[in-house]
């Protein structure tokens, strides 16, 4: 409940300041436009559109998800958070915020993508939905803990994608594979190993993040 209150505070703050939403919206529009312009009249394969989808998602996540902690550090309100809640409450609140943001971001990207790319068609929607569900959760967890780590650093903007890349790479690779399967119409049962890997990644990242956050948060 306390974490939910922190999430509500962050969400209300976001609606007033548009700190992350504007950055994400602009990035999604710009990257999709650049891809569209670079393709031109070329007809690209289904599998390539699936790959490009995750490129857009990865870089959009990099542009907006660090804000959860960075905005607190930049505004100098980190001390205030220290004084009102325990570390686990803060992490859960920030994670909830990033989860909502990632799901909204990914739903918007997929809708825009489906409208703008003719060759993007999913044969097994159920598998694509599961990949999106667990994949987005993994992106949210990883982004939140990385944001907490880099918020104390001086070169935040550069450090975030550099640190996020190796951590998100296994997730992105498995998501690319699952997207390929869902485009080709492979069944959920046949993709069980990849889905299990995805869920395991989420569990490992979530556990590690809660264990690590105490050390990051306390000086």
């Amino acid at each position: 409940m306390k974490s939910y209150s922190l999430f509500k505070k962050d969400w209300q703050s976001e609606l007033r300041t548009r700190y992350a939403i504007n950055a994400l919206a602009m990035f999604i529009l710009v990257t999709i436009s650049v891809i569209l312009f670079s393709i031109g009249q070329e007809k690209i394969s289904k599998l390539l559109t699936g790959g490009l989808l995750w490129v857009v998602i990865f870089f959009s996540a990099m542009s907006g998800l660090a804000r959860a902690f960075v905005s607190e550090e930049e505004r100098g309100t980190t001390l205030t958070l220290h004084l009102i809640a325990k570390p686990s409450t803060i992490f859960t609140g920030k994670l909830l915020f990033n989860i909502v943001l990632v799901y909204l971001m990914n739903i918007s990207i997929v809708i825009l993508y489906s409208l703008l790319f003719e060759s993007f068609s999913i044969e097994n929607v159920g598998l694509f939905f599961l990949a999106g569900l667990f994949g987005s959760f993994g992106i949210a967890v990883s982004s939140t803990i990385i944001a907490a780590i880099i918020s104390k650093a001086s070169a935040k903007g550069t450090l975030y994608p550099v640190l996020a890349f190796p951590i998100l790479l296994p997730l992105i690779l498995i998501l690319l594979e699952l997207t390929k399967y869902s485009i080709n119409g492979k069944t959920i049962a046949a993709s069980f190993i990849e889905l299990a890997f995805l869920v395991s990644y989420d569990v490992v990242m979530l556990t590690a993040s809660y264990m690590l956050f105490d050390f990051i948060w306390k000086d």
Binding site: K2, S5, K9, R16, L79, L83, I84, K86, D219
Partner: protein, 216 residues
């Protein structure tokens, strides 16, 4: 009255190689006002932050006990009220929204009468619905006292409590500090003589740096 005790045991703080203070041993009990005094850069704020659990000491321990039960550092925020010039609240919210959000995050039901009375005490009642970004520095300092007092903490740590305040604001703070100290433990970190004159006991932080220099 709750029996709140704060014990500093061999407290040492270094920033890099620079020694701020070493081997501070002290015990503070509720019902009194204690001062952390010293010139600029002597480590008053650092000591206040360590006491508040915001930063860790390099060596030594800070033990908080309430009615002889040790308070876990993760739960310290429930018992602590903190004011300082470097404490920043959310500019995009009004003063009242800030306080209500903080109470909800703490898991405390808002007591409208108490909130209104604090806004009245600090002469902010008429401006409680204004966004904080429109507040002057003195008004921002006063809202911090509401932030520190609204959840009724047993330990109050005020670092430079009267900075940015006019004489009327200072008088309000002094009145509240004396009132709160009847049942709570109050710590004032300041180099203002008028602030320190309220204190029953004062720790001169510089002394704990000087001792080490003299040894060398």
């Amino acid at each position: 009255m709750d029996n709140y005790t704060l014990t500093l045991h061999n407290l040492t703080k270094l920033f890099g190689r620079r020694l701020i203070f070493t081997d501070i041993n002290a015990e503070f009990k509720s019902g009194s006002i204690y001062g952390f005094a010293g010139s600029n850069g002597s480590g008053k704020s650092t000591l206040a932050k360590i006491v508040a659990g915001v930063i860790s000491p390099t060596k030594g321990k800070v033990i908080h006990t309430l009615n002889s039960k040790i308070i876990n550092s993760d739960n310290l925020h429930e018992y602590l009220g903190f004011v300082s010039p470097y404490l920043i609240l959310y500019d995009e919210f009004s003063a009242e929204e800030n306080i209500l959000h903080f109470l909800k995050i703490r898991g405390i039901d808002a007591d409208k009468d108490k909130i209104d009375s604090l806004f009245n005490d600090f002469n902010l009642y008429d401006r409680r619905n204004d966004l904080l970004k429109g507040y002057s520095s003195g008004m921002k300092q006063r809202i911090k006292f509401i932030f520190a007092l609204v959840h009724n903490p047993s330990l109050l740590v005020f670092d430079e409590p009267t900075s940015n305040l006019d004489s009327k604001g200072k008088d309000t703070v002094y009145k509240i500090v004396e009132e709160e100290a009847k049942s709570k433990l109050v710590i004032l970190a300041s180099n203002e003589e008028s602030d320190l004159s309220l204190c029953h006991e004062t720790v001169f932080v510089e002394k704990f740096n000087q001792q080490e220099k003299n040894k060398k």
